[in-house]
Symmetry: C2
Subunit: 102 residues, 2 copies
């Protein structure tokens, strides 16, 4: 699968987006790219953090690194283990946004 190939690439870095502010992840993206070891960054998020991941992609590209473009967006579903007091596994949506230098 293409997904596996890109994740394994030495030139691709992954930033997991969670519940911090968008700017925290913008800084993480810029750090990974400026270190020179990554030519693209894959933002990964699930659930409510999906909206934050989109913010991160937009802020990074519009405000800081104007030569950075969204090269790929994929969405999916993951099964999460049941939380305490719940009987069933929950399904949660995911997103992967790949940002690449032009």
């Amino acid at each position: 699968m293409m997904k596996g190939v890109i994740e394994m690439s030495e030139k691709s870095a992954i930033v997991f987006v969670g519940s911090k502010t968008p700017m925290d992840y913008v800084l993480a993206v810029m750090t990974r790219l400026s270190a020179g070891d990554a030519e693209e960054v894959v933002l990964k998020a699930r659930g409510q953090a999906i909206a934050t991941a989109v913010d991160v992609a937009e802020i990074t590209g519009n405000r800081f690194l104007k030569d950075l473009k969204v090269s790929r967006i994929t969405i999916g579903t993951e099964e999460m283990p049941a939380r305490e007091g719940e009987n069933r596994a929950r399904m949660v949506s995911t997103i992967e946004i790949t940002l690449a230098k032009e």
Copy 2:
């Protein structure tokens, strides 16, 4: 712009995703497709509703209409007018997810 072309197409329907539950919008998607006048549906959302739009796309395709595929995802930024008591316009992220019959 491609965006304009697709919105103007007679075979494309738009579903705006807001603060209701994902299932409300899943039903809206299925209604538009089953009416026969649309071959694809574009889900549009902004801000926190972006996560809901991804849920709607995933639930519709995985659970109800298995021949429906995500054909395109685009993200963007819109300027929203300042709210009462605020001085500045706010920037808000947007997403468009196109679901098309195979």
